[in-house]
């Protein structure tokens, strides 16, 4: 069959899968983005003993395959079924979408925490001292000085992490979530037309390209006060202050 025919015949399914991939990625990234600032502050400031559980969590998340983490949550929860049923959580773990989302959010939290920690450590000490000197309370120093700088420094790396998360979200198809890959395999098993894989690849590349453009716009907005020279290079290498 002509590659275009495949697209004409199956585009609703591919579109459906594309929306699922975007939904999984965005939700996972947003949940991780809500949790990671707190963790990053602990990683940047707390005593080594207080950090130990967090470090263990991050090391585990970064040292094991995401597929393993996904199986651990999706299939592993079955071992605790009576317990989970008692607590009313079984309906959550029975749904593969929820399990995939939980796995991706936990995984991305670990990565985003480390990236943001680097950003926080990269904030120039003098600025924090200046803020304290003019009488800002610690919470206000965080809100007005530390986090705006930290996000500006961490922004490109955070964007990379979201792209990695989108690539990882393809694993959800293994636990029967119908994302792009899930739909592609479904279409392939019916039509035996290989070109559907190439369409899937094209969709992924388009999502990545659009995301990179949007992320650059965000970057420009974050650093508009720095002026005309604010390209990504100055973000990665802030002119003053220690490097992350």
């Amino acid at each position: 069959m002509n590659p275009l025919d495949i697209l004409i015949q199956y585009w609703p399914r591919l579109l459906d899968g594309t929306l699922m991939t975007i939904k999984l990625t965005l939700l996972g990234a947003v949940i991780a983005a809500i949790i990671s600032p707190m963790f990053a502050l602990i990683r940047a400031n707390a005593s080594p003993v207080a950090q130990a559980p967090l470090r263990l969590y991050i090391s585990f998340m970064r040292g094991t395959p995401i597929l393993g983490q996904l199986f651990l949550i999706y299939y592993g929860s079955g071992q605790f079924r009576p317990f989970l049923q008692e607590w009313g959580l079984w309906s959550f773990f029975r749904d593969p979408f929820n399990c995939a989302l939980l796995a991706f959010a936990l995984n991305s939290t670990a990565y985003q925490t480390e990236i943001l920690r680097g950003g926080i450590m990269g904030v120039a000490r003098g600025e924090i001292e200046a803020a304290k000197a003019i009488g800002m309370r610690p919470s206000r120093v965080l809100r007005r000085i530390v986090f705006p700088h930290a996000y500006r420094i961490a922004w490109p790396a955070l964007g990379n992490e979201v792209i990695l998360l989108m690539k990882a979200s393809a694993l959800a198809s293994v636990v029967t979530v119908f994302d792009i890959i899930g739909r592609t395999r479904q279409i392939f098993s019916r039509s035996f037309d290989f070109s559907v894989y190439l369409w899937a690849a094209l969709i992924y590349l388009c999502i990545t390209a659009i995301f990179v453009l949007l992320w650059r716009l965000g970057e420009r907005k974050l650093s508009r006060h720095i002026g005309a020279q604010s390209d990504s290079r100055t973000i990665l290498n802030p002119p003053e202050g220690p490097k992350a």
Partner: protein
């Protein structure tokens, strides 16, 4: 509790070790393939010829943007189809050729590793000091000698941290081949889960083994980096 991991007929210890062996074989077989593709991609994207540069740039950009699992399916299904088409053309009466999952795994993981390694190596070549190459040429070294004696030893030093990260990522990505029915650690775990009905215990064990491999790799890589930088004074 622990007897399900024992060695022999009663436990899954020996099966899991066999799976671990497959995982390691896969990772170790992929490394040279990936490095070769990586060097190819790096040289192509630094080439004098525009066409080659475009190919190198296109390859690394596209491969890095695709999910590894998609690459694996494309290689596993696509190369299988291609092989059969070639085989039919060669001898129309011949039977179907099976593209082994192991070969598909090495090819796909090597292609992914190669795309990322291409970028790492290009960066490493770019961070070499131009003066040293000029000095080499000035004392009459051939381009080959400059490459072997000045560029390559230092590229190793610059590229090692990046390549180390790629190795750890690839080690984790080997778990994907369990989806195309290669009996690696992850798939053996799945089989064990099917029999024992203890999914959490076994997937946790598998994760701990991957974790141990990654931590071990990190320790070895830190040593290699120290060794590679032994001649360098730290600023």
């Amino acid at each position: 509790m622990l007897e399900i991991f024992s060695y022999g007929d009663a436990g899954w210890g020996d099966e899991i070790l066999a799976g671990l062996a497959i995982t390691m074989q896969l990772a170790i077989a992929t490394l040279p393939v990936g490095l070769l593709i990586g060097f190819g991609a790096a040289f192509a994207s630094m080439s004098r010829y525009r066409g080659l540069r475009m190919i190198g740039f296109g390859y690394t950009t596209i491969m890095r943007g695709l999910p590894e699992i998609l690459t694996l399916f494309v290689v596993y299904n696509g190369v299988g189809l291609l092989l059969n088409i070639v085989a039919k053309w060669w001898s129309p009466d011949g039977g179907n050729i099976e593209f082994s999952p192991f070969a598909a795994g090495v090819t796909a993981l090597g292609m992914v590793f190669g795309a990322f390694a291409g970028e790492v190596l290009r960066g490493a070549f770019n961070s070499l000091d131009d003066g040293q190459m000029e000095a080499g040429r000035a004392i009459g070294m051939s381009p080959r000698q400059v490459f072997l004696r000045i560029q390559l030893p230092q590229v190793w030093r610059f590229a090692l941290p990046g390549l180390g990260n790629l190795w750890i990522n690839m080690l984790k990505d080997t778990a994907l081949v369990s989806i195309i029915a290669l009996d690696d650690l992850m798939r053996i775990t799945k089989v064990a889960v099917g029999v024992t009905k203890q999914p959490f215990t076994f997937y946790l064990a598998a994760c701990l083994i991957y974790w141990a491999m990654c931590v071990l790799s990190e320790i070895v890589l830190a040593r290699m980096e120290r060794r590679a930088n032994r001649g360098i004074r730290r600023a």
